[in-house]
Symmetry: C2
Subunit: 184 residues, 2 copies
DNA sequence: CTTAAAGTAGAAAGATCGTTCTATATAACT
DNA sequence: AGTTATATAGAACGATCTTTCTACTTTAAG
């Protein structure tokens, strides 16, 4: 077996609990109980709580990208709309409490740890991805467009706890359409 | 003296620390130390940590509204742009780590406490405020417009930790202009 | 079948948390 | 001057946190 099933369970349970109650709001005991695992099993797979959080973030990031990769045709004539739809799908299926990466930056920022680096890295990659999209569409102001579109997606995520993922996504797609049409 | 200076110091210090490190990331000891106050002084003014958080949120909400009230002329022909500018001013002067109210909802949500109620109440009031703005502008789809504009502001707040308040506000105003022009 | 790896339960250490308590000091007001 | 409200420092409580430890059991591959 290339990878322990216990480790996978731990990651899954940890991500769910961390997302629902925050990193600092969940103790390892809770994770261990819900994963039906012994304390030392956790510490055999992860060197510390911080390390567990790091791997949870990496796992979530991978899954986020799989949503984008699956739905965004880069050569399409509306890749931004496709990205907004993919983002909405992710929210609908896995998010209802805002962005876990922003939360990691807020909770562990400016402390020189890997947690913040991973979270910021994800956002950076996202921005660059959208810059590519803008570039392929022949837009000259790639950075501005990428930033604006990211702002739209972050707004969508933030709105899910308030109005739900479906409506938030609806709005962001409507706005994205308007913006793509009327932006140089 | 209508209100203790110690209480004000506590609220100020608590808001700053809670905002920077999260509610669960800050202990009362830290707040007490930085406020140069005795333990019992805190407990004489606030019945618990939860209660302190509640009052911090109320204080912050008041200050947020004072930004809107000061800069938004409801009768103006572009109240939404003014609101976006006021929001940007608040971010620039008091925020660099996302929205404290969303964070409160995330951290204490679904636990039936006052913290969540206050935070959700603030967001609800904001939505209704923007609905009024849309109504005065003679828009028929008030709710949609208010939701979309709120999404824009939330996106702006979320982006501040990534690109700073100035740029984020710039983008949101640019987008707001485009949207106001091209939305029924 | 054996052996090494992986998992088990649970206690324990050491730190920190929110909260309460005690006992004292300061300041303002009648 | 005396009373009252507000502040003080710091010990103490019980709970919980992360991490480590011990000693036992299961699992899986050679």
């Amino acid at each position: 077996m290339s990878r322990s099933v216990k480790k996978d369970t731990l990651l899954k349970v940890a991500e769910s609990l961390f997302y629902e109650h925050g990193f600092r709001g969940v103790g390892l005991k809770q994770i261990i109980n819900e994963a039906n695992v012994a304390t030392m099993t956790l510490y055999n797979h992860f060197s510390s709580k911080e390390n567990l959080i790091e791997e949870v973030l990496k796992q979530r990031e991978e899954r986020y990208w799989s949503y984008l990769d699956a739905h965004v045709e880069m050569e399409s004539d509306s890749p931004f709309i496709l990205a907004a739809e993919a983002h909405g799908r992710f929210l609908k299926e896995e998010s209802y409490k805002g962005c876990m990466f922003l939360r990691a930056i807020e909770d562990y920022g400016e402390m020189d740890n890997n947690i913040e680096k991973i979270a910021r890295g994800h956002k950076q990659k996202l921005l660059e991805y959208f810059q590519q999209l803008a570039h392929r569409k022949g837009k000259n102001n790639e950075k501005d467009l990428a930033n604006q579109f990211t702002l739209l997606l972050e707004g969508t995520t933030s709105m899910t706890p308030l109005i739900g993922a479906e409506k938030a996504t609806e709005y962001s797609i409507a706005m994205a359409r308007t913006l793509v049409q009327h932006t140089s």
